[in-house]
């Protein structure tokens, strides 16, 4: 078994056949083609965010503004009895800083960005047609981050084949066109790889930057800390450096918007369960038993159970990782999988960091079960998005921009869909349950037989890539910087 695994590993890791210019050209070309593909809600939200940021001269005033706007709109929504929160910018602020700089650049190039924001009332079908330069500005961070992820997988992770798979993966392509989670994944990945190389301060900084994009990379911290406590001879100093790097990066970016961030966390605490989790079953249940009053469950039980379940699954995953003496990247993957199991709400894009690490692990370590799990981990969310959004929803903004449909026609189509949506709820509930079970199985699959230290493997030379140790040294400093 171990020899066949080694053969698979060797054949897939030492991938000198990757034609990078072609792969990168295909990846960038596909992303440019997909530029106009946007989720309807996101198209209006990102458009409003961009033109809101453009109004300010001060970057700090600009990044604070979307949080205040969300608070203002939430008050309208509460007054209308359409929900306690208006779904607007509900993330940490890193991308706001980036978007601010990009929109100022676009403005200097002569594009008019000083237009009025347009806000739809909650629970209505909303979209905006964004001018091409603004569309590019919105999607550029995710495209650049995707290329960064591929470079990290190939050079830092030492698995070029995983980089190629990631860049051309259909799910990744869709998520890159949809959201900016790639930026978060890039920071997470760099943080994990730096921790493997004992660059703890910079690992903390990278994870802090990731958590300033979306909060998920925080999950890598306990994995790294526990790995360090178990594996390093004098772990306290590296752990302190990790914490210092994280706090510095996170606080620097988030402190100016601390009030807004606290408000956003309240929004997330209040959200109802659903999506790609077992809690998606509530949707199926409402269709199955329409006469039962599900509101108390949706409003109160679902978030409470979600909070408890998340804590429990994370604790279990931490225990598994400790007992099985997992390395940093596998430990992080296990914790991310536990998060997807326990979280009350998992949207399609939440799977992106897991997909990335699972691709890395399955390509690196091989094994049929790992390859199948890695494939299903992106196939199910992709199928879910196709049914849930649904597929044609991604084309509404571009179809409107090209004059192929009128808003009235789109709304008629949407209303027809709402008439039959109960039937799709069953399918979505089944997919949600299947995804939860897949995540449980994936924890078992990926946590078995993982090496306890990839860096040690690198040093031993058994998984050396064509880049070799010399390139790592070039990336991270002098050769004697590596612990021997």
């Amino acid at each position: 078994m171990s020899s066949s695994l080694a053969q698979v590993t060797a054949s897939q890791v030492v991938d000198t056949q990757v034609r990078w210019p072609i792969v990168v050209a295909l990846a960038v070309g596909a992303r440019i083609l997909l530029l106009p593909i946007t989720h309807t809600w996101d198209s209006q939200t990102w458009f409003n965010i961009i033109i809101e940021l453009a109004r300010f001269d001060s970057i700090l005033d600009a990044v604070r503004s979307p949080y205040e706007t969300m608070r203002d709109l939430s008050l309208l929504s509460r007054s209308q009895r359409l929900g306690l929160y208006y779904e607007y910018w509900a993330y940490p602020p890193l991308l706001l800083y980036v978007y601010y700089l990009l929109v100022k650049l676009v403005s200097h190039l002569g594009v008019d960005v000083l237009t009025d924001a347009v806000f739809n009332s909650p629970e209505t079908l909303a979209w905006s047609v964004m001018p091409l330069p603004l569309l590019v500005a919105v999607k550029l961070p995710a495209i650049v981050a995707d290329l960064g992820i591929a470079a990290s997988l190939a050079r830092l992770g030492g698995v070029p084949a995983a980089a190629r798979s990631y860049l051309l993966n259909p799910y990744v392509l869709l998520m890159s066109a949809w959201m900016f989670d790639s930026v978060m994944v890039l920071c997470l990945l760099i943080g994990v790889f730096l921790a493997e190389r004992r660059r703890m301060f910079w690992a903390g900084v990278a994870i802090g930057l990731g958590a300033s994009t979306k909060l998920v990379p925080v999950l890598a911290l306990p994995a790294i800390v526990l790995w360090a406590l178990r594996s390093l001879p004098a772990p306290m100093a590296p752990v302190a450096r990790l914490g210092a790097g994280f706090v510095m990066a996170f606080a620097l970016l988030c402190w100016p918007v601390a009030d807004g961030l606290a408000y956003v966390l309240q929004f997330h605490a209040e959200r109802r369960g659903g999506g790609l989790t077992w809690q998606g079953a509530w949707l199926g249940a409402t269709w199955w038993l329409p006469d039962f009053d599900w509101q108390p469950i949706l409003i109160s039980v679902s978030p409470s159970v979600g909070t408890a379940a998340l804590g429990l699954t994370l604790l279990l995953a931490l225990t598994i990782g400790w007992v099985r003496a997992l390395n940093v990247r596998t430990y992080t993957l296990i914790l991310l999988l536990a998060y997807l199991i326990g979280a009350k709400l998992v949207n399609e894009v939440y799977a992106l960091p897991v997909v990335c690490l699972a691709l890395l692990e399955s390509t690196h370590r091989g094994g049929a079960s790992r390859l199948v799990a890695a494939r299903l981990l992106w196939l199910i969310p992709l199928l879910y998005a196709a049914v849930n959004v649904p597929v044609w929803g991604f084309f509404i903004p571009v179809a409107d921009a090209l004059g192929l449909v009128t808003p009235d026609e789109v709304k008629a189509l949407h209303e027809i869909r709402m008439l039959i949506i109960g039937q799709t709820w069953i399918l979505l509930a089944v997919l949600g349950l299947a995804f939860t079970m897949l995540c449980v199985a994936s924890i078992a699959i990926f946590s078995q037989g993982a090496p306890d230290d990839y860096t040690a493997s690198h040093r031993a030379g058994d998984v050396l890539t064509h880049h070799g140790r010399g390139s790592l040294a070039r990336l991270y400093g002098r050769p004697h910087d590596f612990p021997e």
Binding site: R71, L75, S79, Q80, V118, F119, Q266, E270, T307, K411
Partner: protein, 240 residues
């Protein structure tokens, strides 16, 4: 690690409980008041149609209120008149930001009135959300003086007036007014071409003006969107 997890869970529960506490507070009170420190205040009565809201000077003297009970307060949607007092009301208040919103729900649209206090100024916006196409919406909003508007000067898009310390009964009984507050109402929204003037006197007695009506007209509001059909800025200063 278990301790950290428990602390995180506790923090989450505290946020949740504070939200529940806020809901309880809203549930039990019938009258809310918000005020910008040292500036204007507003009282909002949950039941009834008056004080929606009532604006107060920093010393507590009532200035005027947006009354849904006034027979002139109405919204006309494509020629169909709806008295504000007959619409289904709901509201929300942000005490931290000195903002309150009242929503009046009609058959296929909602009218939102948003008041935000900033020191000695207040911003009032009227938003209209139609669920199906609407050609024209016209909104008339009564501003009823708690006492009387005195020394009133009216423009096409606004007015200034003095507010006395005495109430209506005292003034009508012959007591001389002591002018203590000055208010200015400015309509920020451009006056619609169909209107000769956007502010008219609705009710006046021998002592002064009791009610003025601000009228806003808006053409073709976008379906499902927040359309700002009218906005006014109110400023206050002491006269003594």
């Amino acid at each position: 690690m278990a301790v950290v997890a428990w602390l995180a869970y506790t923090a989450g529960r505290m946020i949740s409980l504070s939200e529940i506490a806020r809901l309880h507070r809203d549930q039990e009170l019938n009258s809310f008041s918000i005020s910008a420190m040292g500036g204007l205040g507003a009282v909002f009565e949950r039941s009834g149609g008056a004080a929606r809201p009532l604006l107060r000077a920093p010393d507590g003297v009532p200035l005027f209120d947006f009354s849904n009970w006034d027979p002139q307060s109405a919204v006309i949607v494509d020629g169909v008149r709806h008295d504000l007092m007959r619409l289904y009301p709901s509201h929300a208040i942000d005490f931290g930001r000195h903002r309150l919103v009242e929503t009046l729900t009609g058959p296929y649209w909602q009218l939102l009135k948003e008041i935000e206090l900033h020191g000695s100024r207040a911003r009032v916006r009227f938003l209209f959300v139609p669920r199906r196409p609407v050609t024209t919406v016209q909104l008339a909003v009564a501003h009823s003086a708690a006492s009387y508007f005195l020394d009133l000067t009216r423009r096409r898009d606004g007015l200034t007036a003095a507010i006395p310390l005495q109430d209506r009964g005292q003034l009508e009984g012959g007591i001389q007014p002591t002018l203590v507050h000055h208010v200015e109402i400015e309509l920020v929204t451009p006056v619609h071409p169909s209107l000769s003037e956007a502010i008219v006197v609705s009710a006046a007695g021998t002592v002064g003006v009791a009610t003025v009506i601000a009228t806003f007209v808006y053409d073709a509001p976008a379906v499902d969107r927040y359309n700002v059909i009218g906005e006014e800025h109110i400023s206050w200063r002491p006269l003594l």
